[in-house]
Amino acid sequence: MLFNSIGYIVFLPLVVILYYWLPFRFRWILLLVSSYFFYILWRVEFVLVLMTATLVSYYAAVQMGKLPNKKQRMNYLVLSIVVNLGMLVFFKYFGFFSNLINSIAGFTGKKNFIPLYSILIPIGISFYTFQTIGYAVDVYRGVLKPEKHLGTYALFVSFFPLVLAGPIERGRRLIPQFHVKHDFSPELFTSGLRLILWGMFKKVVIADRLSLFIQPVFSNIGYFHGVEIGITLVMKMMQVYADFSGYTDIAIGSARLMGFNLSPNFNRPFSATSIADFWSRWHISLTSWLRDYVYFSLPSKHHGKTVMWRLNLNLIILFVLVGFWHGPNWNFIIFGLLHGTFMVLARVFHPFLLNFNKVTGLSRVPRLLNSLNIAVTFILVCSTVFFFGSHSVHDSFLMIRNLADFSKTDKAILLPLLKNYDFLLGVALVLFMLYFEYLIKVKSFAVKFLSKPIALRYSAYLFMLFFLLVFGLFASQQFFYFQF
């Protein structure tokens, strides 16, 4: 069931009404049943994978909870990680590794060393696997007591607002919320509705509209050159943001209707002043997960001393993992590698940059410096979209080559289409989205808005709702991050 489908518009109110109607002790049952129902609609077989992930990590955590020291708990941690990560690798990366091994075997004359199978990837597996592994590690580290109630734990893994594409929640943040009775709160409820409305707006009005122009370019890269590619890269970045942050807003809003507070996933990423800053604002639940459970676990010392090259190598590893998490494709690995390299370069050249800013006097004009940093970061991020958006490495390099080719501007295909109303509307809406989110996050717009007269607020909501209905595209397009 898609968030932007009629099914969800019927499903969500039903669950919310029943949730508040039922006595507290039965609510977990309702949420668990509805979460599995929500998930099962994608494909019944996928539930088996979800259940296995749940049962194994639950069992391992309960066993860890009985053991006093870390050494004894290690076996169960390994069990949980091996099973969960094993399923993720099998379903998501089997084809990639088979191809890789077959290519290597091909050099020795062996063909089809590993038979290739077409394996369907259970939706959401990348998200709930990280959630279960994070939970197991927390129990292993002793920062979280294992959840004894299987139903509550199963709900933590399968909770319908987040099971398909996150946010990747931590056990210590979400599980306690299932034990607390949430009374109906009009403020929380309306704030959830506002988020859902805004998320829907970003998805069906902005992201889907932009994809009308972006998709043909990525499917026919050879035809486009110069400025056309540049515009496409920027629009692709905006489309992915509107799509994924739109999804996240609907997820957080849906949970908020029932009193649950999910982690934020975005914080105005295009106002980032460095690549490191960008990743602290983009898909926050993933990057913070990788930071806490992978980056901090990587060895940073050489002969007992913390050394810079180790830290830099760890950064590269971390970002290659970020890339690889997105999909079993060399494209994503290069995407991660590029981000990691940018981070390392920024770290290495940091003292030089500080000096440069002093010498040129930029440090005396912090606003200008800030704007420059934002612009450079944005360009760097967009430059990685070559690899993030296209279907293969070949396509990515073809795009890079075509970007530098300005000789065919007179034969441009996309440029005349940009005069199209839909495109202009898309651009205007992107600017509106960025400005509106700036108002909300920086200027506390929501607080000021809530103090306005009710008639004005209702008019604003109705305007937004009907703007969405009139200008939205309702072809039920999937969310971009569902593929990951």
Binding site: N220, P416, F471
Partner: protein, 342 residues
Amino acid sequence: MVTNKQFFKRSLVFILLAVAINTLLNFGYNRGMFYFRQCRVQDEQFRNYPDTLKYLMLGNSHNRIDPALLGNGFSYIMPKEVYTQTYYKLKYILEKTNKKPEYIFLSIDPVNFSPRVEKEMAFDGYWRKFVNYFELLRERNDPGYFRNWLDGYFFSYAGNYRYMLMSVVFRKTDLGLIKNGYIPARNYRNFSKEPDRESLGFKIATVYLSSYGGISTLEDTRSYQKILTLCRQHKIHLILLRMPFTDEYLKYARRMINLDQLDREIVALTRKYCDDFIVFDFRNDFKGKPELFFNADHINPDGASIVSNKIKEELSKIKDFKEVTGSTFRSESGSAACPKSR
């Protein structure tokens, strides 16, 4: 702090307001949308047309055959019409009216077999009176048809801001020009005067054909089969049309799909379900003649008149339809149509 009681009261007011605005928008759109107004005129003319109707044109806006030139014909086409909708319309005509056409004209252009078109069953506000959405839902196991049903009855304006604008721009259009259901081909633009012909050809070809994966993968093919079956059951001769396209459109369409193979597949499929059809192939007739087009994939009144006359000429040569069934009539160098392969 708002109490729960206050909140529910306010919510009720909000919902009522939203329902009222929605009803107004839906009603206004259904009344004023340009295509719907055209269709109401068509419906009215069809009701009043004699039951002895001989030629019936169905399908989307590509099918610009002027029934007046053929005599005793009616054009019952609708922009963006897909085969599923055509099937239900034909079924309605055959079952609920006393009209039984002898010949049906239907276009079999690549766009008719585009996965994009199939997904976009548009204008449900009009089609709801013909289409059985729940039957489709059951048959194809696709809950999306429930959305179509909802759109048709409650949200026909949703996502259609372009048609709203269009309806404002064309509010003074003289619908009296519609004769025998025939909506004269659009003439306020000429493709030969477009500065970005290449770009427009690319756009149309990409939008509709880039995700094409063969006709067997399409649900709409099933509706095409059903149309053929209906024609066979009611002993209707089927005249299939490949309408002319601009060079720019064909250039990109050919890069995206194998047009010849698609044509062969369509004919093979048609043979399987219907034994009483001919194909008129005008696809390349207007090569190098952008002045006969309105846009990349639609002929203008001049183009429509040439095609209609060619059809009239060819049909007059056919003595017994049974003798030429399965034939493809193709023009020689864009002049007069003549039988090429039988």
